[in-house]
């Protein structure tokens, strides 16, 4: 696993890019993009586009013919009482990298970000992370116990929990190991594997604050232990300030009850924080006066730095972004206009700005934010460009409302070394070749 392709210097390519862009005045930026930097490779690009057209040539379903599906009836209502995507979309699925883990029961899968539109992740595509597999829980027999340093220890049924006033909030969910395979070098040949431990849903449930008020937290209560009903009895210590701020106890996602993979019938949800703190299959909340230092906040989910010391309780998922088109799964197939798209997110609040670079971070242009721009949610951005086969080193750089600017890989490695595993949120680079193929590279 440790074969690293040694640096193939980009100085020449970048020098060319820089030379071309120096000829442009600052307000010529759009023109620079429109012209592209060089015409090299335009022929190759044209042939890719031509190939796509040739593929469907000879089909009798194309105009002027009446296609086969327009000359017959389709299936009726409730043929599929719970619908599923078109069979032509069978490639749009979660995937795993088997060698990362010993067993699929304690493992992770990734969301196919390249295939998704907007900011909502469909429930069947939300990435999975299990420590002991998915328990099959009968909601009628599920209970949440809230105890410890409280005035009134309480036990809730699902019915009880759904009687509380509810809220619905669109928030991202991200594993802190997202991108973690890339600390030492570029390893993953697809967006799904570089950034796919990331999803965004509308979550519905009760603010934890409401439950805590119901039980009455004693003054010495400072931390909360959240525990799951899975075989791992997955547990994390959560500071009371977070619980009183925006933590939710969630029973629905994107309009329907939680999927088993997401904690059915009940999960904790800590907006903006590393996913493992959002304990799934939630069965117990205990208020205490100090953290518990359980396995998932000592042995795992602590960030080892080059000094040999490790950061603990590193909860926040810092500002991050990635270009989702083009990407390895979605190469550039046409010369001419291209809308470069991506996702940005911050665990500290709203995304304020995203910039895009075509030359590996030497020069940048502002992107526009599209659709909803919500705190601690995925935010979609795009940039209009022209591509005529010129090589690109595409990067996105996000800035959140606190002013935090997403760091470069070099800055992150300088601060932490390369054994942190978690919280790698550095600027990511896609290399777009003259034939439109996109590969994962690292620029330092």
């Amino acid at each position: 696993m440790s074969r690293i392709i040694r640096p193939q210097s980009t100085a020449e390519l970048l020098k060319q890019l820089a030379r071309e862009s120096e000829d442009l005045s600052a307000n010529d930026r759009r023109d620079f993009l429109r012209r592209g930097i060089t015409a090299v490779g335009a022929l190759a690009a044209t042939s890719v586009a031509g190939g796509a057209l040739a593929e469907s040539a000879g089909s009798t379903n194309l105009p002027p013919n009446e296609p086969s599906w327009s000359r017959q009836l389709g299936h009726g209502v409730v043929e599929h009482p719970y619908g599923s995507p078109s069979r032509f979309e069978k490639n749009v699925v979660r995937r795993t990298v088997p060698w990362l883990t010993a067993e699929s029961i304690s493992s992770i899968s990734m969301t196919p970000l390249a295939e998704l539109k907007g900011i909502i992740t469909p429930n069947g595509l939300v990435f999975e992370r299990y420590h002991a597999g998915v328990p099959v829980i009968n909601p009628e027999e599920h209970r949440l116990i809230l105890h410890g340093l409280v005035e009134r220890p309480l036990i809730f049924t699902m019915d009880d929990l759904m009687r509380f006033p509810s809220v619905s909030e669109i928030k991202f969910l991200e594993c802190p190991a997202n991108g973690g395979m890339e600390w030492k070098g570029a390893q993953m040949e697809a967006l799904q594997f570089t950034h796919g431990m990331l999803s965004c849903c509308e979550w519905t449930g009760v603010p934890l604050k409401v439950l805590l008020e119901e039980a009455g937290v004693k003054p010495e209560g400072k931390w909360i232990l959240a525990e799951g009903a899975d075989g791992a009895h997955m547990s994390r210590s959560i500071p009371l300030e977070k619980a009183l701020d925006d933590t939710l106890v969630v029973y629905a996602q994107n309009g329907e009850r939680l999927r088993p993979e997401q904690g059915y019938p009940l999960r904790l949800f800590n907006p903006g924080w590393e996913g493992n703190t959002s304990i799934k299959w939630l069965r117990r909340l205990e208020v205490g006066d100090q953290p518990w230092y359980h396995r998932e906040e000592t042995s795992k989910y602590t960030d080892l730095l080059a000094s040999g010391k490790a950061r603990k309780f590193s909860f926040v998922q810092e500002t991050n972004s990635v270009i989702t088109y083009p990407c390895p799964e979605k190469p550039v197939k046409h010369s001419g206009y291209i809308e470069i798209e991506g996702l940005a997110w911050s665990g500290r609040g709203r995304i304020k700005q995203v910039d895009v670079s075509f030359d590996g971070g030497v020069n940048w242009v502002p992107a526009r934010l599209k659709g909803l721009v919500l705190p601690k949610a995925l935010t979609r951005f795009s940039v209009d460009a022209q591509w005529h086969g010129q090589p690109w080193l595409l990067q996105a750089r996000a800035i959140d409302e606190t002013g935090y600017v997403q760091p470069t890989l070099k800055q992150l490695r300088a601060a932490r070394g390369s054994n942190s595993i978690y919280h790698k949120n550095s600027i990511h680079t896609w290399k777009v070749a003259a034939n439109g193929e996109v590969t994962n590279v690292q620029i330092t």
Binding site: L14, A26, G185, Q290, H294, R311, W364, V441
Partner: protein, 341 residues
């Protein structure tokens, strides 16, 4: 249509709303039941570094060694070295600054309580919450011994656990991010001459779904194992040793008992017998199963129920799932053997 006759009704209407159900929040809503001490006690399993939550009990390194061999070694290795990709438990001292650190109980974990808590809540992997308090003390003691933290005479108890000093207990500090400041720069932000590009390692990402002819690894854990086994058969073939590829029998060929055993297999046996982990005979692998079958079904069942240590590995009693009945085990054994004939 209902109409208010005049404004004088309004205060009355407002008063009615209050008495008919508008709830002033921040008051308790009275939802949920009081949790009884019994209900809490059954689930309140957490343990803290100061020992809070530890039940009475004790366990010695010696007792722990036997338990560890039967419950833990098949994944974590006899000396805590880890089998395959399962976690390494011991050693790795002074490697935290190395290029490839080995983070173990001894080299990394800050508190002994974490070990006790985790074993008690989640281990053995295939049978969580099956260990008694004393067994947990004993196994914890043995893992501490494997890391040279206690000696071989040591007995771990409710009273002494919190006083154990772990080598890396001062190795952690509170989150102090942001730690890697960047600035928003729009033009000439880097010197292209000094930038270096590193390409992706080829062939270790499952990209077969979009890259034709890619030298891609398997896309699932099952396929990955099948691939590794196929390579092993090819290696043996080159040495002149022929091994039959595993092939499971169809369900239509199974007895009622075997079919009844599928559910137990999937809940309790698959983690080891699905993968051949640590010498477990793998489902559908005739070469693996035939010497076991030759001993006769009675012996096989006895080993499954009572546990067995063979030359290839360890079968814990009922695979660690002592909550299962003998009958359930019998069905699971029927399922595995019939699938693998």
């Amino acid at each position: 249509m209902f109409r208010l006759p005049d404004h004088s009704w309004r205060p009355l209407i407002a008063g009615l709303l209050l008495t008919t159900g508008v709830q002033a929040l921040a008051e308790p809503l009275g939802i949920g039941q009081a949790a009884s001490a019994d209900e809490i006690a059954g689930w309140d399993i957490d343990v803290r570094p100061d020992g809070l939550g530890l039940p009475p009990g004790e366990g010695s390194v010696m007792d722990g060694e036997m338990l560890y061999e039967s419950r833990c070694a098949s994944c974590h290795g006899t000396f805590g070295e880890g089998v395959g990709r399962w976690p390494v438990l011991s050693g790795g001292f002074d490697t935290l600054t190395h290029e490839r650190p080995t983070k173990t109980v001894g080299s990394y974990w800050p508190y002994a309580s974490t070990l006790w808590d985790y074993i008690h809540r989640a281990m053995p992997f295939t049978a969580p919450r099956s260990l008694s308090a004393d067994e947990t003390y004993a196994i914890s003691a043995y893992v501490l011994y494997l890391n040279d933290i206690v000696d071989d005479e040591f007995v771990l108890t409710q009273d002494n656990l919190a006083s154990i000093e772990m080598p890396n207990q001062d190795g952690f500090f509170l989150d102090d991010r942001p730690d890697s400041p960047n600035m928003r720069c729009m033009k000439d932000c880097a010197n292209p001459e000094q930038l270096e590009m590193v390409g992706t390692i080829g062939g270790i990402t499952p990209v077969g779904h979009f890259k034709q002819g890619a030298d891609a690894p398997a896309a699932s854990h099952e396929a990955q194992k099948a691939l590794e086994e196929q390579k092993e058969r090819e290696r043996l073939h080159s040495l002149g040793i022929e091994v039959e590829a595993p092939h499971e029998r169809a369900d239509s060929e199974l007895s009622a008992s075997a079919l009844a055993g599928r559910e137990v297999y999937e809940a309790a046996c698959v983690a080891c017998h699905g993968s051949g982990l640590a010498g477990a005979p793998k489902l559908g692998d005739q070469a693996d199963w035939s010497p076991r079958l030759a001993k006769g079904m009675d012996t096989l069942l006895k080993h499954a129920i009572e546990g067995f240590t063979g030359t290839k590995g360890v079968m814990p009693p009922k695979g660690g799932r002592v909550d299962l009945s003998d009958e359930q085990i019998m069905h699971a054994v029927a399922f595995m053997t019939e699938k693998s004939r």
